[in-house]
Symmetry: C2
Subunit: 208 residues, 2 copies
DNA sequence: GCAGAATACGAGCGATCATTCGCTTTTGGT
DNA sequence: ACCAAAAGCGAATGATCGCTCGTATTCTGC
């Protein structure tokens, strides 16, 4: 019973050195995903790039999937951290400003390590624990809906469930596509135009 | 030189029997992709399900990737066939009607074998020849832009490149999400509401 | 009904990969 | 300085997979 925990702690890293190892592994995984793609990211290769042995890898991660999941979670946290405060601000803004803010924030979120985001969303098969990204979408949906309800009387639309679905999907898709597939066409100024245009789309839809 | 073609025709199926084999292989591949997922779709398993030997598989397909690519292409053609005529109609319609038509057609397209579409878009790593789906998007973009130009004087927007990008991305994302992730919430009547709502979003954006 | 072409077969090869385990090295407390 | 725990190591294992090739079966034209 307790044996399991003694022979296979599998994850707890108490000393400095081991925490560095875990960090190196995550770093190496992200690097390989970006520079060589998902299918080149074998556990042996990851360990090699991290300057660590395969055995050490399996001391802290129960398997390859968990390692990739950890990279995803780390990326998710980075996005949340750069975005949370700005999202809080938007909460009390009137619809026009809130939409601009929201789109701008979405762009910012996608610009946190875009190449990693690209691999994470388009190259990794979303199976098992690797579908964490969908949870992300749900959260956004719930938040957006709550905001719309708080501004119900300003709005033209009446089915807020439907409106939230349309809006959230649109924001995500436009920013995702813009940053990850058309980054060359959209540097700085162009990107501002895109934000304005998308916000305009949403505002005209939500308000009279 | 000609030897290559004699020893490894790799693809041309002249007799009835072989055409049936190719069909069975495509069918089996699609079935496995849907019911067991991409990573369970090994060449041996595909051949087994198709009731064919692995050797036969490699007589008509140079490799696993080509087989999957063929399934993708087949799916693409099915969509095109069920959609082409309706798209042609939309070409001459005024903006309001055209947008409704476009969204409705997009929904229809996504409803052609949704489960296969789901696997194709979300489970298959888009690398090598497997990124054919992006070409699809480009075509839609070009077509939509041309349409907007033909109606330029009716429109509120001036940067048609930008507007096309926003609109096409929105249509694709909303319909995709609706059909593939929320199919239970959106049966028939609900779906009609979604189409109307999305069309409304686009119309209000494009026109004053 | 026969010859040669087309088709089908499937055991097996080589490569890759995730994962294990017995062992060594390092660390921290005493 | 010493020892037990923690961390690290990497060759070896077993499983899977894509793919080949020599052989057997079926078809087609004559």
């Amino acid at each position: 019973m307790a044996r399991k925990l003694l022979t296979k702690p599998r994850k707890t890293a108490s000393q400095e050195r081991s925490r560095a190892t875990v960090g190196a592994l995550l770093e190496a995984t992200a690097r390989i995903l970006v520079k060589e793609g998902f299918d080149k990211a074998s556990t042996n290769r990851i360990a090699e790039v991290a300057g660590v042995s395969v055995g050490s890898l399996y001391q802290y991660f129960p398997g390859k999937e968990a390692l990739v999941a950890a990279v995803i979670e780390r990326h998710r946290q980075e996005i949340l951290q750069t975005v949370r405060s700005e999202l809080a601000k938007a909460w009390t803004l009137p619809v026009e400003q809130a939409m601009r803010k929201l789109v701008a924030v979405a762009v910012k979120a996608h610009r946190v390590d875009p190449r990693l985001h690209h691999v994470l969303t388009e190259q990794i098969p979303r199976v098992g624990r690797l579908e964490t990204l969908e949870t992300f979408g749900r959260e956004n949906f719930a938040l957006f809906r709550t905001y719309l309800e708080s501004r119900r009387d300003e709005l033209r639309v009446d089915d807020l469930e439907l409106a939230s679905f349309v809006c959230v999907t649109t924001i995500e898709a436009v920013t995702h596509n813009a940053v990850l597939h058309h980054s060359k066409l959209l540097t700085d100024a162009r990107m501002d135009a895109l934000v304005e245009e998308t916000a305009c789309l949403l505002i005209r839809y939500l308000k009279g």
